[in-house]
């Protein structure tokens, strides 16, 4: 037994050396008031692609001079489970700082997992983080649960080869969904190929497109307009669009790959899932705002926030890391390396990579379009977020892929969504406005 435990501790020691060796980030500055202290883990649901992780560890964290930090990332559920497990265990744990999506905070906040970091937020006042983002960071309460770290959105990318098939009168920078369908149809009619792509693989983000783009643009809502006549129109348009979409879309988890190989010419996806093709072939593609529906050009804003768990082993270290991540130069580095946009006020450098410049322009055009309306990721669903996404995606699969009758599917899936809203007493958010009780499917 003693042999076992000494071997185990040797292993732990070896692992600790490895971790420290991998995560030591530069030599500490001499004479600074920088906190050293206990090493801690920075856990995030973002940057899961290996290259992004490496960028984070080797570049974005390189100039940080504080206690040793181990950046970890994984599938959202894995990271969130670990955060909540450490919160449940209480005392002093390993995770010192978390960087997760706005919508992922709610359940953890309800479990009392985070410190109030109003003081840290006040310290960064002069960096001009938008006030509505800071308010989001209070997650419906009065305490500052998280400080915005970076932001992202979804937009459309089109191959220049497709531009010649644009329907007459359509402006590629101000498309409507009707024009998009006509465009995709035109391509199929002229070339015989189906060139629109949906991110429909099991880890694709189709649910976000439905929640933040299709539904609100057609119906002005999501839950409260789920079964409306406008929704039926939207689904019929989607069925029409599917006719001109690459039938291999069900294997697409990020659209940059089929765009780059030429399997598709058009698609809407998350910036991080489009940037590879823009960086690789900036001269062959255009990045444009998402289309508009009858109710406006709705787009989704993804805010990633930084929160300090109550069980953080090194709170001063966490604060030092937040300070580092919010520095304008770190924010621009994060944009350069991992394509997420700054939340603090920065002057954009003129030497931005061509692909990044395309992305930045598209995001700016989308946000400043005169019919633009922004919605957040679903709020307040907590652990039920996954099931809500499934209910939405299943609606798409049943109506569009399996060709089931629209009203039947909306009734059946609507009942599932209502149960999620009622069981979790989830109030309406974003496009649906607000409600006093659970949001009602209509």
């Amino acid at each position: 037994m003693r042999g076992m435990s000494s071997r185990a501790s040797a292993l732990v020691a070896a692992a600790a050396i490895l971790v420290t060796a991998c995560s030591t980030t530069g030599t500490p500055a001499g004479g600074g008031a920088v906190d050293q202290g206990k090493p801690f883990v920075f856990a995030s649901t973002q940057f899961s692609p290996v290259t992004e992780q490496e960028n984070m560890r080797k570049k974005i964290l390189a100039a940080y001079q504080g206690a040793s930090v181990d950046f970890i990332t994984d599938q959202s559920a894995v990271i969130l489970n670990r955060i909540s497990a450490e919160a449940k265990a209480g005392g002093e744990q390993q995770i010192g700082l978390v960087g997760i999506e706005n919508g992922e905070f709610a359940a953890l906040v309800a479990a009392g997992a985070f410190d109030d970091i109003t003081k840290i937020a006040d310290k960064h006042k002069d960096q001009k983080i938008p006030q509505d983002m800071l308010t989001l960071g209070k997650v419906g309460g009065s305490a500052q649960v998280y400080i915005p770290w970076m932001q992202a959105t979804y937009f459309m990318v089109a191959s220049k080869q497709a531009l010649q098939y644009l329907p007459t009168g359509a402006d590629v920078n101000a498309l409507t969904y009707t024009q998009l369908v006509a465009w995709a149809k035109n391509i199929t009619d002229k070339t015989g190929q189906k060139k629109f792509g949906f991110p429909l693989a099991t880890d694709g983000l189709i649910h976000r497109l439905i929640q933040g783009y299709f539904y609100p643009s057609y119906t002005g809502g999501l839950v409260t307009t789920y079964k409306s006549a406008d929704a039926v129109t939207m689904w019929n348009d989607m069925k029409e669009l599917w006719k001109y979409s690459n039938p291999q879309s069900t294997t697409y988890s990020k659209l940059s790959e089929p765009l780059q190989s030429g399997e598709i010419w058009l698609g809407i996806d998350h910036v991080a899932r489009l940037i590879d093709v823009l960086k690789a072939k900036p001269d062959d593609f255009v990045a444009v705002p998402a289309p508009a529906g009858p109710k406006g050009r709705y787009y989704m804003s993804v805010v990633i926030g930084l929160g300090v768990p109550k069980s953080s082993p090194n709170k001063a270290g966490a604060e030092a890391l937040i300070d580092h991540l919010l520095k304008p130069e770190t924010q621009i580095l994060t944009l350069r390396e991992n394509s997420f946009f700054p939340v603090v006020s920065v002057t954009m450098p003129s030497d931005l990579n061509k692909g990044l410049q395309l992305e930045a322009d598209a995001v700016a055009k989308q946000a400043s379009a005169k019919d633009a309306k922004v919605v957040p990721l679903p709020v307040g669903l907590g652990a039920k977020g996954g099931e809500f996404n499934k209910a939405i995606t299943d609606t798409f699969v049943r109506i569009v892929l399996k060709n089931e009758a629209v009203p039947t599917v909306l009734d059946e899936q609507g009942a599932i969504i209502q149960k999620i809203m009622t069981d979790g007493s989830v109030k309406c958010w974003g496009p649906d406005g607000s409600s006093s009780g659970p949001c009602q499917v209509k």
């Binding site: 429909l200 693989a201 039938p247 291999q248 294997t251 697409y252």
Partner: protein
């Protein structure tokens, strides 16, 4: 007369593996069973199983899992048997074959799936080879969502490539256990190669075939990474649903219900194999 120590020695020797099995298998299994029958707020319920059965993907997942099982397992057993017999015939360079056959064993499921996706996708290796050879003008959409046969074929090929070697290794071990005397006796009676294989090798290989079948069937029930890569959302399978309910939909109770279903199926399959292929006392003595 046995001493006390001798009586207890076997049990003492078994203790480490019992400890190991309970820690890593029995306890998690009981936990999964409990998760499957517990409601989210606590208390026992069958709701998780009802949700599983009522889910859009359940009947498809059930059909696809069985379909893949029926297509993959017999194919792999036949392929592995042929390969094992080939290697066992000890021709020159047979060792090299074993190494080549075993390469896919070192590759993870998902990596194998992505590798075959690169082969079968619209602009993949297969289509570009066929196009450059002038066989086809336009790429063929093997993995189109409405081309179930194409997707199934791709998955069966990928799985056969990836996991036949496991069966092969078991069968080769089994072949090498067969005493040479039997072959000499068969030769003495003038049996040709085919008769020798059918009447001597196959019956004596039965225990190995049995383990290979059991292991392969359990793996077939667990298949999902290759399916995810090649078919994406198109082809739900039971193990994939368990994973999705846990990791994506974040409901560990329904995920556990799927796991319990898979456990039940695996036990049934194992019992069937043990019964059908089981060694009977008389045969061993014959």
């Amino acid at each position: 007369m046995r001493t006390r120590t001798e009586q207890f020695l076997p049990f003492a020797l078994l203790l480490p593996s019992i400890g190991f099995l309970s820690l890593l298998i029995v306890i998690p299994m009981v936990q999964a069973l409990l998760l499957a029958v517990m409601a989210e707020g606590g208390g026992f319920t069958l709701e998780n199983f009802q949700r599983m059965v009522a889910d859009v993907n359940f009947s498809d997942a059930w059909r696809n899992t069985l379909l893949l099982l029926i297509l993959i397992v017999p194919l792999q057993i036949v392929l592995a048997l042929a390969m094992a017999l080939l290697i066992n015939s000890r021709f020159r360079g047979h060792g090299l074959f074993l190494y080549i056959y075993a390469i896919p064993l070192a590759i993870s499921d998902l990596a194998a799936g992505i590798l075959w996706l690169a082969v079968f996708t619209e602009r993949g290796y297969l289509n570009s080879t066929l196009q450059s050879a002038g066989v086809i003008d336009q790429p063929i959409l093997f993995l189109s969502f409405d081309n179930l046969a194409g997707i199934l074929t791709a998955i069966v090929i990928a799985e056969a490539w990836r996991a036949t070697a496991i069966v092969l290794v078991i069968l080769i071990a089994g072949l090498q256990l067969i005493p040479r005397d039997y072959f000499e006796a068969a030769d003495l009676f003038g049996a040709n190669r085919l008769r020798r294989t059918v009447h001597v090798v196959l019956p004596l290989l039965r225990p190995s075939l049995q383990s290979a079948l059991i292991i392969r069937t359990i793996f077939a029930f667990q298949t999902f990474a290759v399916v995810f890569a090649l078919a994406g959302r198109n082809m739900p399978v039971l193990a994939g649903e368990a994973y999705t309910w846990y990791a994506t939909n974040r409901n560990e109770h329904v995920a556990a219900a799927y796991a319990v279903l898979l456990l039940g199926l695996t036990i049934v399959a194992t019992v069937v194999y043990l019964r059908v292929l089981g060694l009977r006392e008389a045969e061993v003595q014959r």
